[in-house]
Symmetry: D2
Subunit: 140 residues, 4 copies
């Protein structure tokens, strides 16, 4: 079972992470070591060429891995990304995209996860990320 509830995680990011509102990121589902989030897209998400800007997909992956991390360690706002690698695989449109994150390793100090981002329509794989969150010592 997740150590943070869906409602509690939503409240945390809505209050303290403005970019979820800016980008239209929504937390759809949360379980221990897994999370599903979406990003709305739209005109503001555009990059040259008319596809979705990579940083939006990165933001979605990062918040998804934050959800995965807090599902394991509980409400520790200062869990922070230490590094993240993202591969952009297929050109996204400007519509809804959907991220599925899962834990790869739940250590005491480091949580490693992966995140796959799919097109909200056809479901094609748009991007894949792996990242590490560090849990502050007092909470580790």
């Amino acid at each position: 079972m997740s150590r943070i509830s869906l409602a509690e995680f939503r409240a945390l990011v809505e209050a303290e992470l403005p970019l979820v509102r800016i980008f239209g990121i929504a937390v759809e589902d949360l379980g221990r070591g897994r999370a599903v989030l979406t990003l709305a897209g739209g005109e503001g998400a555009m990059r040259p060429g008319g596809t979705m800007a990579g940083p939006l997909l990165f933001a979605l992956a990062d918040v998804t891995l934050y959800a995965v991390t807090l599902s394991i360690v509980g409400r520790v706002p200062l869990a922070v990304t230490t590094n993240l690698t993202i591969n952009f695989l297929n050109k996204p449109g400007l519509g809804l995209v959907r991220a599925e994150g899962r834990v790869l390793k739940a250590g005491k100090r480091l949580i490693v996860g992966e995140c796959s981002i799919f097109d909200g329509q056809g479901g094609g794989l748009l991007a894949h990320a792996t990242g590490t969150y560090s849990v502050p010592p007092e909470k580790a």
Copy 2:
């Protein structure tokens, strides 16, 4: 000499990359294989804990490497990130940050670069990224 002028690159991202306006990204300097950009920060840049959200630093790194890429291949809007790895090194505040990008390899099809992001005040190193841009075949 850069194959895209500073004015031309600024015009491109201001017209077709809304997130530069959303995040307050400014292109300060551009030469062949190198670029300097800043990001303004502010309340909207916050993450839980009161520091700057990682995706903003990623966005800054990604646009910086886009500038580095176009400085080499010229105005090819559809040059796209194939992958990017970012390491977050020190906690950023919410003020101005400054990115310095440079090319590591200028291939016909792939441009690899690195980007260091510094605090706008003390100048401490906040993040480091390496990434690859792919140049579309017709232009490669």
Copy 3:
């Protein structure tokens, strides 16, 4: 169906990639966009602390993604890694480890894949890698 046979891939790496013999890497299975390889381990694989050295797991991941790539493009020896990110998740012993690779994107010029490395005994996840192979232009 794989565009290179298991026998043909084995022959290629046994003839031209000495580290498969040095490290005891064996190609177990190969299909289109997927491959299973093992690495024997042993005393020579040790690192300080008595666990398996990271570069051996990297070597296994890299050869696995090479197999995945050639399964898609056929016998193109000069397909080369452009980048690879590996996360070490759990301490390996010195015994057999097993890698499962699969394609994430099969582009004309770039093949992106992921590889999970498991303990040969208990099956725990030891490492995870994502990497990109570049296919030379004449073959792309």
Copy 4:
């Protein structure tokens, strides 16, 4: 000043990391937060196409960052790589290559560094890596 001497680091890896002998890795220089190592190359280093196999460059980068890490934390054999990203930039020959590593962040628990690998002849940049070492809690 480095918290491990050049002689002490050499002795550690020669005794407990067989791959330095297998690959001909030599520790040339070591200072606080920086290290220079070389790898001899030769026939055993080959990959299909006649260039140097990527895993050898990875091994060199990994041992270089291990030296950088121990230069900061002292003789802590169980400092381990948590992740490493390597970009292969130019085709290496089979001769000597030279790695220069430096620290990007020296945290209590995580040491982040970067490593550039150069051709031993002309000095061209062959590969670039960034990686993170984790220092075990009792020593952190």
